[in-house]
Amino acid sequence: MKQTEFLNVVMPFKDKLFRLAKRLLVSTEEAEDATQEILLKLWSKNDRMKQYASVEAFAMTMTKNFCLDRLKSKQASNLKLVHSNYTDGSASLQRQVEAQDSVNWVEKIMESLPEQQKMALQLRDVEQYSFDEIGKLLEMTPAAVRVALSRARKTVREKLIEKHNYGIA
């Protein structure tokens, strides 16, 4: 496969890979590195790429596994993730967000979720994947995905309300 061909295949979902990586690794730089790593791995396998039913699903699974491995090795070596980049100062973001503060809170709340719920929420509410796709990606049954997702949504909502009431009181 030629380089341009490869880029055409990869372009539509590279941002999804990055967002999933960022969801798991939190830091933008780490997510960028992870995404780059994944793309290079894909590139090195590009002659076999036609065999995969969905390159996107394959790449997403790779990203998930890669990031989870990263997190595991980080925990093992007792390295704490340092992240101070909650706001992504892009202009379009500033314009869209009226209640910037509580929106940022959603991100922080999502960080506190267990990894599986985090990913379920990311894949469904941000990327709008179907339950079947998410199930395959996370190696769960679609029913289990629903349960995780339901829990995640409820938790985010409860914590938001908590935060909101706290602010008022």
Partner: protein
Amino acid sequence: MELHNIEKLIEKYLEATTTVAEEEALKAYFLKGDVAPHLKEYTAMFTYFSVAKEETFTKQVPLKPRKRNYKWLSVAAVAVLVFGIYYGNDYREQKEAEYVLQQTKKAFSLIAQNLNKGTEKLVYLNKFEEAKNKIYKTN
């Protein structure tokens, strides 16, 4: 969409039984503004989700270095081999010729040495000449 409907969808949403289309409808409602006060918290959620989807990967990926064409490497190797054999043969022949030349020179010098020895011995013939001259002079 009516508030009643939205409330129903929200309930389904929390149980994760909504379809993608229904979630889209919810998102549209909350992003439009003008949200019922008791549903305010969802605005933040749906706003965040749509903002999060805007993020893009902007880093350049250096794809070139990975793509090394090993085909040309083998061609180069074969070329070097052929070259080596061709010129190597020439070189060997030259060496052989030089060796033969050396041997021949050695043989010639050996012959020359022995010849010189022979001519050294011929000096004695002069004695004979001297003696003969002496005899003729006295006569």
